[in-house]
């Protein structure tokens, strides 16, 4: 099983945010825009960090925002947000963060398969700085090696 398709509107490049909450908010908004989640999922991703701390910052500069499956997950999805200015999440080693991934899954098991794909991409330590420096959404997607969803309109504009 490969990574879920990554529509361009699930990618937001060079976002200006004041803090980690807004950074997770941007990743959640991108999931919503791409049709993966309903409102409410974003708040649950913030809630996970409030409850358990900044463990979602799993590598230097990278946060993997996520929450449990729930009715607000419409279909499994991934979003990618790069930040114009890095923000601190409160992690002792991996702050500051300049790339935030949003992950939404419908069951606890299915994601394990595509997580292996995600690990393949990110086991290369050059990927996080390369993503942070990417000028546009298409570059982000090609760096991740993820296919466009079938039927995506090439002229799709990136909503802000």
């Amino acid at each position: 099983m490969s990574l879920p398709p990554l529509p361009l509107d699930a990618i937001d490049v060079g976002v200006h945010v004041p803090d980690w909450r807004a950074a997770v908010g941007a990743a959640g908004a991108a999931l919503e825009r791409s049709g993966s989640t309903a409102p409410g999922y974003t708040e649950r991703m913030v809630g996970v960090i409030e409850e358990f701390g900044a463990y979602v910052v799993i590598a230097p500069g990278l946060a993997l925002a996520h929450a449990r499956p729930g009715p607000d997950v419409l279909t499994e999805g991934l979003s990618v947000v790069t930040l114009a200015e890095p923000v601190a999440f409160g992690h002792p080693h991996n702050d500051p963060v300049n790339v935030v991934l949003g992950l939404a899954v419908t069951t606890g098991d299915e994601h394990v398969h595509f997580v292996a794909e995600l690990a393949n991409v990110f086991n290369d330590s050059r990927i996080i700085p390369a993503l942070a420096a990417a000028p546009d959404a298409a570059t982000v997607r090609s760096l991740l090696g993820i296919a466009a969803p079938t039927g995506e309109d090439a002229s799709t504009e990136e909503p802000k």
Partner: protein
């Protein structure tokens, strides 16, 4: 040999840790069963585990355990995972 990869909600981060721990164990040629778990299930999952892999942020939530708790800073760094597992299991 049982190893638990622990995250807050048992989604995503623990799965990444599990996948990369398995890759590190393969490098070390050590056979072990790696299970992903969340804070709510760690007591049960780790009851018979030798090692718990997790983030420093979650260590206080583990509570009492007989397993070695190994803090992983970079979940994608196979060198870090391999060397820390080698020390714990060697």
């Amino acid at each position: 040999m049982k190893i638990v990869a622990l995250c807050g909600v048992g989604i995503g981060t623990s799965a990444i840790l599990k996948v990369n721990a398995e890759r590190a164990l393969e490098r070390l040629d050590i056979e072990a069963d790696v299970t992903a778990a969340d804070i709510a299930s760690v007591k049960l999952a780790a009851a018979d585990a030798q090692v718990i892999l997790t983030s420093s942020e979650l260590v206080p939530s583990i509570g009492k355990t007989n397993a070695d708790v190994i803090v992983i800073d970079n979940f994608f760094d196979l060198d870090e995972l391999t060397s820390k597992l080698e020390i714990a299991l060697g």
